[in-house]
Structures are given as structure tokens and as C-alpha cells.
């Protein structure tokens, strides 16, 4: 309690604590709203999970930041009533189905893509659809027609014939362009897409879904595979915290125990520990992790274990050893030995309590190191194969040229989260170091 009070005297420690608590809150939220299997499904589900998101779309708030008015994604379906659908029997075995998608378009930019997804029910004879486009100034543009399968996608943006009819303009631009304007700008107003379908069987039916892919999406945007980055950014928080904390606790405690044993028994035990520390110093850390990741498994838990093992004989061991040696010679330990206390009792009751004040700042300072190690492994392509993590988002952004192509949000969002996490623990660690090491106080 006294320590806690002292910590609050350091503004940086308070800032660090606030950051850590916020991250913990986000982690709890992520774990409650999105169970592990759900997160993995949303992240690795494949095209059917993400098909109605735009590709590499900026976050929505970028509109506010830049003052642009870029389009959001418009999704309308005849199944949920957003589009009107009517059926009229033309003859005995022919029914005409009209689906109309009326929508307002008031954005300054063109959409990214246009697609219509059809679902049709029929036994043998394929239904036939034709699509036409009505602009606010009353023009009607024929888009195209085709017969459709039970589940079919009509990618209007990729229709080469339509592109020719639009004077070589890409469909998503040509269909929205204002013909009166000098430059290529979208015409604002009420548009309509009409799908008229013919079915040739009694029970046959057609449903359609229009997706006008926007240029901005959600709170954090999407990646090159149309995935909402929200999943990775949100779920990456508990993963980063868990990895960092577990690795820090694991290494610190083991390191302390080993250096304590070495200092206590001295002689060859101490000697051996010193030599192992030196070997560990020249054992290439990332190369070892890379070999293990490449040859065996990239599971995050295996990596965690290896990271802990490789860090046990790290820098901390010498610091602890020095303190242990000092305590070992102190009078109260000598007294304990005089009354016949066992080695174990002395180590656990006298040596370890003395070292804990040193241990705490070290532990907190180590957390960012491990958080960044996990991210580094992902950047190297050795991240966990299923889990969505911050490092993997950075890695994918890098591989897909996010910085070259101007998708800055894609790289910046996970990087800022990583940086904030690192800073939070680092700030707290620095303050703890000063609280527990009076020698540093005031320096």
C-alpha cells in the first residue's frame, strides 16, 4: 500500500498504470464479446465471411480528419426488405421477378467496386436476369444480362462490355459520373438498380443483393483480403498482454531462482550458471526461434516457452547474483545458519524476500520486450498460424506495400497499439525502479 501511494507521486507511473488498465479492459471486452473460436473464424473464415467488405478501405473517421466525403459501403438485399421485389406471372410456366434497389448517393468519391450476388432456386432451367441502371438525371443504362446459377455473383466492375459502352470508363466510375461536369466527379442523387428476372419453373425464385463497396469501412478499416481489422486489433490485445506478462513472469522468477541457487551453493554450481549465461549470450536468439518456428511449429505457446527458456540466462542473472552474494554474507543469514536453518529455508525465507523489490521493476520493464518479440516473430512470418495478432497485421501491411500505396492506417493502427502497450509498461517500470532503488531517486 505504501508503495502504491509512492507510485502515484510519479505522473509517468500513473500514465503507465492508466494505459495498462485500459489495455486490460479492452482485453476483457475482446474475450467476452468474441470467443476464441469466433475470433479465429472471423479472421480466417475465407471469402464468404468478408465478401461484402471493401478491400483496404480506410477507417470511417478518416473522412472527418481529411474533410473528404468518401463513400461507405451500401448493401441492399431483396431478402431483408431493403430492396423491393415483385413477381408477376407472365404465362403458365414463366414468372417475371422485378427487384429494385433504390438508393441515395451523396458522396464526393466513387465507390470501389460494384457487385450483385444472386441466389436462385430452380430445378432444371436456369433463370435469366437483366440489369439496368437509372441515374438521378433520368438516364437509363443497360448493364447486362445473363442466366444464373443457384449461387452466382455478377461483378459489374469487371464487365468489359459495359466498360466499352461507358466510353472506356471503369463501371464503378462511369455509372456514377456526372456527364455535365468537366472533370470526373460523381453525380449526387437518387439512383436505382433494376434487376428483372425471368424464371421458367413454378416454384423457382430469385433473390439478389447489391453491394456498392465504399472507400471507408468501420472504425479501423479493412485489409487486402477485405477483413475488418477490428478483429485483429481487438483480439491482438489479450494475446499481446498474455504473451508479454507470461514471458516476463516466467523468465524473471526462474532467473531469480537460478541465480539464488548459484549464489548460495557457489563453487561449481555458480560456475556452471556463469558459463551457461555466456553461452546464452552468443546463442543467436532470433535464429534459434526461426529454426524452431520453421522446423516444428509456429504455435504461440511453443514460442512463448522457447522465448522464456532463451531469456532465463539473460542480463538479469548477474544483477541478482550480486545482490544474493551480498545478502548471503549478511549477519542475519549467518545467525540463521548458526541456529541450524536448512539451506532451503534460508533461500526461500531470507534471500528471496530481499530480492523481490528488485524483481518487480525488472519484471514490468521486461513486458514490452516480450510484446515486441511476439510482434517481431510475426513480422518475420513466424506468427501463430491461426491467431490474429498486431504483429501479423503489420507483417501483412508490409508485405502488401501499405506504405508505398498510401494505406497508412493499416500499418499505423497496430504499430500505435504496440507502441502504447510498450510505453505503458515501460513508464511504470521506470517509476518502480526509482521507488525501489533509492540510489536512483532524484537522479
Amino acid at each position: 500500500m505504501k508503495t502504491l501511494k509512492e507510485i502515484t507521486r510519479y505522473p509517468s507511473a500513473v500514465a503507465g498504470l492508466v494505459i495498462i488498465l485500459a489495455l486490460v479492459a479492452v482485453s476483457i471486452y475482446a474475450l467476452i464479446t468474441m470467443p476464441y473460436s469466433e475470433a479465429v473464424r472471423l479472421w480466417r473464415g475465407g471469402a464468404e465471411v468478408w465478401y461484402d467488405h471493401p478491400k483496404t478501405a480506410q477507417p470511417v473517421w478518416m473522412n472527418l480528419l481529411t474533410g473528404d466525403n468518401l463513400p461507405l459501403t451500401i448493401i441492399m438485399s431483396s431478402e431483408d426488405g431493403a430492396a423491393s421485389k415483385s413477381a408477376t406471372a407472365v404465362s403458365e410456366d414463366r414468372t417475371e421477378i422485378m427487384i429494385s434497389f433504390p438508393f441515395d448517393y451523396s458522396y464526393d468519391g466513387f465507390p470501389q467496386e460494384l457487385s450483385v450476388f444472386f441466389t436462385a432456386q430452380y430445378n432444371e432451367k436456369q433463370p435469366f436476369v437483366s440489369l439496368s441502371w437509372l441515374t438521378p438525371d433520368g438516364r437509363e443504362i443497360r448493364i447486362g444480362d445473363s442466366s444464373i446459377h443457384p449461387s452466382d455473383t455478377y461483378r459489374i466492375s469487371q464487365d468489359a462490355k459495359l466498360k466499352r459502352r461507358l466510353n472506356g470508363e471503369l463501371p464503378e466510375r462511369g455509372l456514377f459520373a456526372d456527364p455535365a461536369a468537366e472533370t470526373l466527379v460523381p453525380l449526387k442523387g437518387a439512383y436505382e438498380l433494376r434487376v428483372s428476372g425471368l424464371v421458367f419453373e413454378e416454384d423457382a425464385d430469385i433473390d439478389a443483393k447489391l453491394v456498392i463497396y465504399g472507400q471507408v469501412h468501420g472504425l479501423v478499416g479493412t485489409d487486402h483480403r477485405r477483413r475488418d481489422l477490428r478483429i485483429a486489433l481487438l483480439y491482438g490485445t489479450p494475446i499481446a498482454l498474455a504473451f508479454g506478462l507470461m514471458a516476463a513472469v516466467g523468465t524473471t522468477i526462474t532467473t531469480m531462482a537460478i541465480s539464488g541457487i548459484g549464489a548460495w551453493y557457489g563453487r561449481w554450481v555458480d560456475m556452471l550458471i556463469q558459463r551457461v549465461t555466456e553461452v546464452n549470450l552468443i546463442l543467436p536468439f532470433y535464429s534459434t526461434l526461426i529454426m524452431i518456428g520453421t522446423f516444428y511449429s509456429r504455435s504461440i505457446w511453443l514460442m512463448l516457452g522457447v522465448v522464456i527458456v532463451l531469456n532465463i540466462f539473460g542480463a538479469g542473472i548477474k544483477t541478482y547474483r550480486a545482490v544474493f552474494l551480498q545478502v548471503k554474507e549478511s549477519p542475519y543469514v549467518e545467525a540463521a545458519r548458526a541456529y541450524g536453518a536448512s539451506d532451503r529455508r534460508i533461500i526461500f525465507r531470507y534471500l528471496i524476500p530481499r530480492i523481490v523489490p528488485m524483481l518487480l521493476p525488472q519484471l514490468v520493464t521486461l513486458v514490452p520486450l516480450f510484446v515486441f518479440i511476439e510482434a517481431s516473430l510475426s513480422v518475420l512470418g513466424l506468427g501463430d498460424p491461426v491467431l490474429p495478432t498486431w504483429g501479423k497485421v503489420i507483417s501483412e501491411a508490409r508485405r502488401n506495400g501499405a506504405l508505398y500505396e498510401g494505406h497508412y492506417y493499416w500499418m499505423l493502427e497496430p504499430a500505435v497499439l504496440l507502441g502504447v502497450t510498450g510505453l505503458g509498461f515501460s513508464l511504470l517500470g521506470f517509476a518502480l525502479d526509482r521507488v525501489f532503488n533509492p540510489r536512483l531517486r532524484g537522479l
Binding site: 535464429s287 529454426m291 524452431i292 515486441f372
Partner: protein, 384 residues
């Protein structure tokens, strides 16, 4: 901040030290210390490389690598044999001959022996940098020898890390001295406040630097060693390399300089409150003289030890920084090898990194021996 230290003990018994004290020159003492460290470090490298082999071989990859290599060599030799005897042989006969020869070669190389025996054979190969052939990757000179692929990449790596560490050490030292002089000033407070930012590694700051200077401002290149196509003249080539060095070196600086300057300035402050410094001040020595002889001199061993730890941590992170900056060094080669699943290159680069780390530790030990009076004068060399 961890004030971790490298072991600098010499592993000589007190009696021997006594003998030493009796009558030997500084030179022989330093030479002896260096020699002992060298032998020790060499042993460490052997153990390190052996561990690397154990890790790599647990999946059986090293053996598979060698078996594949033998089979390829034997088949090529047999199919290339144009003698009359060979021409008469059927393809089944040739296959049987290949099997026979492969079995012989495997026996000759000891692949039929138990793993422990074989692992020592591979250790010898690794220590002599006989790293085998790459599966896919080739060096710029067209060889598939892993040793050539990796050694070709060494100069860019050394250039980058040499430049960065040189700047980091001297800038850190001068900044720390300046701050200890201006203790409590605004700059001092700023650097202390910025010290926690060093929790992030260099590649992390690299991303931001690329974003700002390459993507947005477009004044510095995104990465790589030189412009494409490389300039003809040596002068413009060097200038181009220097231009490409700015961002990665800055990334290393940003990630280390603040914590570095903070830690060193704290050492200086602790040492400048020693009695002998007060005494020197009372004697009226100039502050420059005090700094040089009474503060810098005794802190130098500590500074070098702390720098050694930074250096080693930086080496370890080299792979990712080089990847982020597309710097054609060892790290980037390793990154490409992971992507191509080229196991001999991955194992080989682990061996090269172990060597590089050992050489770094050794050089620092040597410098330490030169500046630490406990080694030079032959006093108690043990720290605790």
C-alpha cells in the same frame, strides 16, 4: 535499468594471480587475459553452435540435407559417366548402382552412425563454415554454397551495424556527459522522460521513419542498399549508400539513444559525487580535466559493459531491421530463406550469427581489458 555486466573474470586461481603480481608487464597481463578469454569464448562458440545443431537436427533436417546432397552428387556422377561400361548398363542397373554408392557414401560420412557421433561430425563442418549447399537460393556470383551466400551478405550488415554502433556510442557518451553537466535542465528532463520509449525495438521506429521520410515527405528511400540502377562512379555509389543508411541508422539511434544517455548520465552523476572528484574540484582542476580523468576514466569499464549488452541486443534484432529496410545483409537473407524454406541457409546463418556475437563479445572484452585497471595492473579481476 538493468546494470547487467558481462563476466570479466579470468578464471585464474588466486595463487596464480599472486604469481602474476610478482613480476609481469602490463602487456603480458593483457595478452594473457585476452588469450584466456579467446580460448573460453571459442569453447562458448563450440557449445553455442552445437546447441544450434541439436535444435536444427531434432527435426532431422540436417541429416536430410546431407543425404539429399549425397544422392544428388552420386546420381549426377553416374548419369554423367560416358564410359562404354556405363552405356551398356540398364536404367535398373544404374539405380541399383546409385543405391549402392549412396549407402557407401553415407557410411563414409558416418550417416549410419548414431546421432551423437554424427552431431560431432556436423559440428566440425559448421565450425569450419563448411555449411553445405542451399536448396533454392544462390549467391550473386551464382554459387549455391551456403558459405558464399552468407559471406557475400556480411559487408552490408557490417556497414550498417558498424555505422549505427559508432554513432550510438559516441553520441550517447557526449550526450550523457553533457546531461550530467546540465543536471536538472530542460534537456535533461526531456531525455529522462523519453528513456521509456527505448522499450520498442529499432524496426518499430523504422516503420514510422519510413512512413514519414519515404512515404509522406519522399526525401529518403524506402530501403535497399543503393539506388537502382546502381550509380557508375565510386563517389556517387558511396553517396547513394550513405543516403540509404540514414533511415536504418536513425531507427537504431531513436530506439537506443535515450535509454542509453539516461543510464550513462546516471553513472556519471553517481561517480561525480565521489570524494576524489570533490578533492579534484577543491584542487582547482578544470572541469574538462575532472571529467576526463576523474569521471570518465573510472566509469569507462561500466559504460563499455553496458554498451556491450546494447550491442548484443541490437545484433539479435538485426534480422528484422534489415527486413524492414530491405537492407541486403545477413538478416534479410535469413528472412528470405525462411520464406523459401531453405533449411541449409537457415542453419548456416544461425552459425554465422553465433560467430558474430562471439567476435563482438571478444572485441568488447579486449577493449575492457585495455581500460580496466583491475586487468591491466593485475589486481582482483573478479567482480561480484
Amino acid at each position: 535499468m538493468s546494470e547487467a555486466t558481462l563476466t570479466m573474470d579470468m578464471d585464474v586461481t588466486p595463487q596464480e594471480q599472486e604469481k602474476e603480481k610478482a613480476g609481469s608487464s602490463t602487456f603480458s597481463r593483457v595478452a594473457r587475459y585476452t588469450l584466456v578469454r579467446m580460448v573460453l569464448l571459442f569453447l562458448m562458440v563450440i557449445i553455442g553452435v552445437y546447441l544450434t545443431i541439436l535444435i536444427a537436427n531434432m527435426g532431422g533436417y540436417v541429416d536430410e540435407m546431407r543425404r539429399g546432397f549425397i544422392r544428388e552428387e552420386v546420381s549426377v556422377a553416374i548419369f554423367a559417366d560416358e564410359s562404354a561400361e556405363m552405356k551398356r548398363m540398364t536404367s535398373e542397373g544404374k539405380k541399383a548402382l546409385i543405391e549402392e554408392q549412396v549407402a557407401l557414401a553415407e557410411k563414409r560420412l558416418g550417416l549410419d552412425k548414431p546421432f551423437i557421433v554424427r552431431s560431432f561430425a556436423f559440428l566440425k563442418d559448421a565450425m569450419t563454415l563448411n555449411l553445405g549447399r542451399a536448396e533454392i537460393m544462390i549467391s550473386d556470383s551464382g554459387s549455391s554454397q551456403v558459405r558464399l551466400i552468407l559471406l557475400e551478405r556480411l559487408p552490408p550488415t557490417l556497414a550498417l551495424w558498424g555505422a549505427a554502433n559508432f554513432v550510438l556510442f559516441f553520441l550517447g557518451l557526449f550526450l550523457a556527459l553533457y546531461l550530467s553537466r546540465k543536471y536538472g535542465s530542460l534537456l535533461d528532463k526531456l531525455i529522462v522522460g523519453l528513456a521509456p520509449t527505448s522499450a520498442a525495438p529499432a524496426w518499430f521506429y523504422g516503420l514510422f521513419l519510413i512512413l514519414i521520410f519515404a512515404a509522406i515527405l519522399q526525401i529518403l528511400p524506402f530501403g535497399a542498399l543503393v539506388d537502382a540502377p546502381p550509380p557508375e562512379s565510386t563517389v556517387s555509389y558511396t553517396l547513394s549508400v550513405l543516403k540509404h543508411l540514414i533511415l536504418p541508422v536513425s531507427a537504431i539511434l531513436v530506439s537506443s539513444i535515450f535509454a542509453n544517455a539516461y543510464a550513462w548520465r546516471t553513472f556519471f552523476l553517481i561517480y561525480s559525487s565521489e570524494d576524489y572528484v570533490e578533492m579534484a574540484k577543491a584542487k582547482g582542476l578544470s572541469s574538462r580535466e575532472i571529467e576526463r580523468r576523474y569521471i570518465l576514466r573510472p566509469t569507462l569499464p561500466t559504460i563499455i559493459t553496458s554498451f556491450a549488452m546494447i550491442l548484443i541486443a541490437l545484433w539479435q534484432g538485426a534480422i528484422i531491421l534489415e527486413t524492414v529496410f530491405n537492407w541486403p545483409g545477413l538478416g534479410q537473407t535469413l528472412f528470405r530463406a525462411i520464406g523459401l524454406y531453405d533449411t541449409p541457409v537457415i542453419v548456416g546463418s544461425a552459425v554465422i550469427y553465433a560467430y558474430l556475437l562471439a567476435i563482438t563479445v571478444f572485441l568488447l572484452d579486449f577493449i575492457y581489458a585495455l581500460v580496466d585497471p583491475r586487468v591491466r595492473i593485475g589486481g582482483e579481476g573478479r567482480q561480484a
